[in-house]
């Protein structure tokens, strides 16, 4: 007696539809598990991804308006002045480097050894979401618009899933946070995503050529002083991705006089054991509801449209629901 017969096409289709309904009802967690299984297949897509990265980088230069002769002249003058400043600051930097080297030598000789309590796991960007529902917009000052993704797929060298919530950095800036991970792959939520947030710290720059007046409260009365290295307290806030290629930090004291160009770094020791640069302040707007507060817009240093490699920061002691340290 024939027990198992070949299923008909209609039966196969019915089974597929039932499977879709079941996986839909199982929700996001089951969906992510399935994605983790198939995402390594995108590994072959590295070549087109890098090709797309290269094309986009070159395409941003196309279509810009040519500069007028007057603008060219102004820029040449400005460049000349900047060259002079560069030479001056280079000299200053060399002097500082010499001092730092001598201090480092002293510290290495007599100080206690100190290392960052974390592993850096290299991860390659192998793709992004198939549909653009989580993409965000990045507007360049030059007028061209680049597309940056809200999430990227990473290929790691870890066969066990990394805990979610880990930070990912480039060699110079914060890239985002791992929101889901599986064997050899992980999902990176980039810093500009609307649902990304992190404790941040604004470091105001002290420029002797452009003194900055700040107001502080002493013994109950407001006092205006010039910002110096001595009274330059960092300003803490919560940086949230704005979905438009930047981050915003609300509720910053207006009289702290934050200006475009100030540095923004991370300030979350659970998330990252060290301060990592997020970006620079690009805009400061007075809060309409509370005029003594400002909202700061941050332009991140991380560019998702050009990213090819990031490092996942794995603290050596990971606390939380995800369990212990992920193994190799």
């Amino acid at each position: 007696m024939k027990v198992l017969s070949k299923p008909s096409k209609a039966q196969v289709l019915a089974a597929m539809i039932v499977l879709s309904v079941v996986t839909s009802l199982l929700g996001q967690r089951a969906g992510q598990t399935m994605r983790n299984l198939v995402q390594p297949l995108l590994w072959l897509g590295r070549a087109p991804h890098y090709l797309a990265t290269s094309l986009r980088a070159n395409a941003s230069a196309v279509g810009r308006k040519p500069l007028s002769p007057q603008a060219v002249e102004e820029l040449a003058g400005e460049n000349q002045s900047l060259r002079g400043q560069v030479a001056y600051w280079r000299g200053e930097a060399e002097r500082s480097d010499r001092q730092a080297r001598s201090l480092l030598k002293f510290q290495e000789t007599y100080g206690p050894s100190k290392d960052l309590p974390c592993d850096l796991i290299p991860a390659r960007v192998i793709g992004e979401s198939a549909l653009p529902y989580d993409l965000t917009r990045r507007v360049n000052v030059g007028g061209s618009q680049n597309v940056t993704s809200g999430s990227l797929v990473l290929l790691t060298d870890r066969s066990k899933a990394l805990p979610s919530g880990l930070a990912a950095v480039t060699d110079s800036a914060l890239a985002g946070r791992i929101i889901a991970a599986g064997a050899f792959t992980a999902q990176l939520q980039v810093v500009t995503d609307k649902q990304f947030d992190i404790a941040a710290r604004i470091l105001r720059l002290v420029d002797p050529n452009a003194p900055r007046e700040v107001r502080s409260t002493r013994q109950g009365s407001a006092v205006s002083t010039l910002l110096t290295e001595q009274n330059n307290e960092p300003l803490d806030g919560q940086a949230v991705g704005n979905g438009q290629g930047g981050l915003t930090i609300k509720d910053i004291w207006r009289h702290a006089n934050v200006l475009p160009g100030d540095l923004v770094v991370t300030h979350d020791t659970r998330f990252l054991p060290l301060e990592v640069r997020i970006g620079r302040v690009s805009q400061v707007q007075v809060d309409t509801m509370s005029p003594d507060r400002v909202t700061v817009t941050v332009r991140p240093d991380f560019d998702a449209s050009l990213a090819t490699e990031v490092f996942v920061v794995l603290p050596l002691k990971v606390d939380g629901p995800s369990g212990s340290k992920a193994g190799k």
Binding site: L13, Q28, M34, P48, G150
Partner: protein
Amino acid sequence: MRWIPFVILVYLVILIQTTLGRVLTFSGGGLGMIGPDLAAIVAVFIALRLRDGTEVAIAAWTLGLAVDLTTPGGVGLVTAVGPMSLGYCLAVSAVYRTRDAFFRERPASQAMLTLMFCLIAHALWVSLQTVFAQGVTRSWGNYGEALVQAMLLSAYTAVLAPLGCWVLTRCERILIPVQAGRARRGRGRTW
């Protein structure tokens, strides 16, 4: 339907969509990002060429699943797998039923049917994902925005559909064997 070449085609389409796809993506101002759904073009092409409706639905389900598996973000923080394969099945059945009313070789027909396909599939996907995201993220606030984005995405995909169908016609013989009741060079049923 030749399933092995079809699976390879699905893989290639998804690979292109997840990598080179962003070259074709642009900003729609305040309406979000607009990019093409290349898998939808393949589904519409198959719905126009294949005679067996069940095979068309199976192919669409496979394409929908592939899109689902490579679209982790969206309405919720992490989206569920399954709604897009259901959406593709539903949309392809609508295209399959209405295809007789169109001249399938005409670019305008291909664009129109792709628009219909994408509107059904993406509206269903956005709606289901919004429902599933409840309790995880506050997503109803973005529902209208995502629907408008889906409409623009559908229109954009429809514009690209004739070009996609032209490319797929070049490899039609690899995907679809000569079907009974078809003329030697015919593409479509002979009535």
